[in-house]
């Protein structure tokens, strides 16, 4: 069905919203997730902690909504943030992906 508002139609077609999803693992602490998300996604400490709780509880959490390139950039930053220095056995970054 065509949108009655052409401006809205253009906006919808040109600005699809993607999301960056963070996945849980057992080699990163809550401190790491909060530090990483405040640094990479510029989340407040409280929102970063909510994401940390959600990823721990549900296995995944959405950390950013936006244009594809932005979401890819954030996922890339998460993937290259490095291991959790607090845990000697942590040897890689957390996993992240982009979804629409």
């Amino acid at each position: 069905m065509e949108n009655a508002n052409p401006e809205l139609d253009i906006k919808t077609k040109t600005s699809p919203v993607f999301k960056t999803v963070l996945y849980n693992d057992e080699t990163h602490t809550y401190d790491y997730v909060v530090e990483m998300l405040t640094h990479v996604c510029k989340l407040s400490k409280e929102n970063a902690f909510r994401c940390a709780v959600e990823v721990d509880t549900s296995g995944r959490t959405i950390v950013h909504y936006g244009a594809l390139e932005d979401c890819k950039h954030i996922a890339q930053q998460i993937l290259s943030y490095g291991p959790d220095h607090r845990l000697p056995h942590s040897l890689k970054s957390m996993e992240a992906d982009v979804e629409n």
């Binding site: 401190d31 902690f49 709780v53 509880t57 290259s80 220095h85 970054s93």
Partner: protein, 167 residues
Amino acid sequence: MIDEKTAAQLVDYLNQLSADSEIKSLDDIYYLPTRELLLILQKVDKNLLPLLVQILKASPFNQFEKLMGDHDPDNKTLVDDFFNRYMSATLTEGWQPKNFNPLLFYLPEESLSDLAFVQSRQAFFERQTMYTIREYLESLFGEGIPQFKEEDQNKAWNFFWKKLINL
């Protein structure tokens, strides 16, 4: 998750905090109304809060998720209080002494013979301020560290890495 003796002590403790319900076993907390549970959690010692949260996370009724997502305006203050206390009990930031150097602590000299481990810490190293890096390098190699600019973390890492592989 916890042994019987600890569970019994915890039940006694929770009963002291509970104004309304009698708690006979830890499973009973799964059936408490949200507001009553929040009132108990408000009084729980901060050091015990993570243990209680672990128990709630095991709830078959998603008790923990309900607490975190409770939007009842009457409970807002209690939910905020629970959230802030849980965050403060979980995160370790702020426990570090003044002038704490994370590189000295998390990348100690005795770990430097494991080059694969050290290499995995490159991003962590490069996130530090130059002041922290300089203090770390001087503790390892003494005087004579090059003058790196504030944004020269990668150059400092390369200097550090070359030093290590030539030791």
